[in-house]
Amino acid sequence: MRQRSAAWLFAGPGLLWLLIFFAIPLVNQASVSLMSGDPEAGYTLTWAFSTYTDAISAYKPQFLRSFGYAGAATLIDLIIAFPLAYFIVFKAGRWRAFMLLLVVLPFFTSQVLRTVSWQLILSDSGFVVDRLKDIGLVASDGRVLATRTAVIAGIAYNFLPFMVLPLYVSLDKLDPRLVEAATDLYCSRVAAFRKVTLPLAIPGIFAGSLLCFIPACGDFINAALLGTSRQYMIGNVVQSKYLNVLDYPSAAALSFILMTLILVGIAIYGRLLGTKNLTEVAA
């Protein structure tokens, strides 16, 4: 009893914060999503569950795109971040701290600014696109900006540190002697990586994937700035519904659908990875 009351006291500020800025808005938006009406007459609660089914059928492509783009970007991040984190942990030596700083350095500027600078870098007659044309990766009349490639690359870039940092933490905790022991016991280096390093890095992979995938699903800046309407994701729809069309119920319903789908997705992902201490990497 004693321990519990103290614990509650310490958790108090956090819980209060969650209540005010998460629980109450969540309940409020749940109620908004069931309202009907229009901006002129106002919206009243009518338990209009049809908003949900309408939203799913009307914005299926945007949902699919959100998950597709976010998934692709997460995978790209994993492929880039794993060797990077591995290098920083095992090979960087005294440059470790500096290299970690380099990873987070771009994030000292705002995401919008970074994405706008990508717009300039990828512009049709810019240096990058010209070189890509030279080596034939882009058709001579093709473009990079305002395509699916640009949007996915932009998301991958914007969320890369969220993959690198958890991977760094979990690889850092890995005792190199375990790998050594594996090779001593006649494991090839590849097998040692597969049987020792990778399984021990799974909490980092899991945490990193979530930290990339979840915000990427709701992202709209990359699609808005690097894509066209044919690349818009569900975040763009929610933003437009809230601020331009003022259709609050649909916007709220779309947000809840996205949240549910993400939760289900994560549950399945967690099961597939099958680790019990997935959160230990945060410790």
């Binding site: 919206y43 069309v245 003022l246």
Partner: protein, 400 residues
């Protein structure tokens, strides 16, 4: 007793079991209450219309007595004033104007402050600058404070063609800031020649090299002009038909992007050859890129006016009206015009600029010749419900 134990027992004394359990019950009750209140919440208030007549009634008795000017707030679009004007104002009238360049899009700005307006609380801004159709919506919804005409003697300098508009026949709630036209902005190297008609927007030759404005008043109005119709007199069906035409072209990949003001990057970087563009922007962009052109096409062009307004429950009306009066002094208006390069609503600006900035005074984008002026069309008038239908249709086209 260990350190930790002592701390815990101290906490324990502070929160006896009894108190805690009561607290807990209260807590749960409160949470439940909040949930119910939240879920069954009283809904979201609408912007139900007030009649123009009742607002005009209110206007006749509006008094904003002279008061010392302290800190007050002016919200405007980016790059839409010569900032020296603000310094001059502060020096002459005292106080300090907090000038925020926060309006990037009419609908988004409205979306941001709508709830406060509907609830009848101040939005913390004393002047806002919004385009015709949005200004009309604010007047219709009673989200404006009428002017005290006695604080605005310089209103007499307003150009005749803007003195009366359908949403504000006597200019009691809105005062033009600048006007501009929606025409073709293009890179003459990419088009290989001057453009004279909106037909190019649908020319397969420029497939994927065109940016289109996302605002349906601008883009659909332009399509109607291209079809030889009068956009000011457009019906909802006309407008919907034009939006559908945009949809078809977009599906075929004709437009690279739908944009707000941000088409400027694509145009200067050469990502698009042609942009549906605002006249004033192009004057500014031309100084960076000599190949950019703006044309008033033969079919005519949409004319927009951005208007200064006092929001409902405005907190510093006297300061705001003093500023409005100040920018209607022809000399001040000329300073602003020389900087922003849009069409000034103030009479006598050209005469001043002929002496100080002859190149601006002779620029046809800023001072359109009469034969162009005749073909500039105002936005049509729609009810809030009609506008909602159109915005929704356009949102579908732009993919959101």
């Amino acid at each position: 007793m260990t350190e930790r134990g002592r701390l815990e027992s101290a906490l324990e004394r502070a929160l006896t079991d009894d108190a805690l359990s009561r607290r807990r019950v209260l807590g749960r009750g409160a949470t439940l209450g909040l949930m119910v209140a939240g879920l069954a919440g009283c809904g979201i208030e609408g912007s139900a219309s007030q009649t123009l007549a009742s607002l005009q009634d209110e206007a006749s008795s509006t008094r904003h007595p002279k008061a010392p000017i302290g800190d007050w707030t002016f919200s405007n679009w980016p790059l839409y004033i010569d900032k020296s004007v603000l310094k001059t104002f502060d020096k002459r009238y005292g106080g300090h104007v907090k000038y925020i360049e926060e309006i990037n899009d009419n609908s988004q700005f409205f979306g941001k402050v709508r709830q406060q307006l509907a609830e009848g609380v101040p939005i913390g801004r004393d002047i806002v600058v919004l385009t015709d159709y949005m200004a009309a919506k604010w007047v219709r919804s009673g989200y404006v404070t009428p002017f005290d005409a006695r604080n605005l003697p310089n209103k007499k300098h307003l150009v005749p063609n803007l003195r009366s508009v359908p949403y504000d026949p006597k200019r009691q709630f809105t005062l033009p800031w600048q006007s501009g036209a929606v025409g073709l902005g293009y890179d003459i190297r990419q088009t290989g020649g001057e453009l004279k008609s909106f037909d190019v927007l649908f020319d397969p030759k420029y497939k994927g090299k065109i940016s289109m404005l996302a605002e349906q008043y601008d883009s659909a109005g332009t399509v109607l002009l291209q079809q030889g119709k009068n956009p000011t007199k457009a019906s909802v069906d006309d407008q919907l038909q034009a939006i559908e035409k945009l949809d078809k072209a977009n599906q075929a990949g004709q437009f690279r992007r739908f944009t707000g003001n941000d088409y400027t990057t694509d145009l200067t970087k050469g990502n698009v050859a042609i942009a549906l563009a605002y006249s004033g922007d192009l004057v500014q962009l031309q100084s960076d890129n000599k190949n950019l052109r703006f044309s008033y096409p033969d079919e005519g062009a949409m004319l927009f006016t951005d208007n200064m307004m006092l929001p409902a429950k405005v907190q510093h009306p006297y300061a705001a009206e003093t500023m409005m009066n100040f920018v209607y002094e022809p000399k001040i208006a000329a300073t602003i015009c020389a900087y922003v390069n849009y069409i000034s609503p103030v009479d006598g600006v050209r005469a001043i600029l002929e002496k100080t900035n002859p190149d601006i005074a002779s620029n046809e984008l800023i001072f359109p010749p009469d034969e162009v002026r005749k073909k500039l069309y105002n936005y049509p008038n729609f009810s809030t419900a009609q506008e909602q239908t159109l915005n929704q249709a356009m949102a579908k086209v732009t993919g959101a």
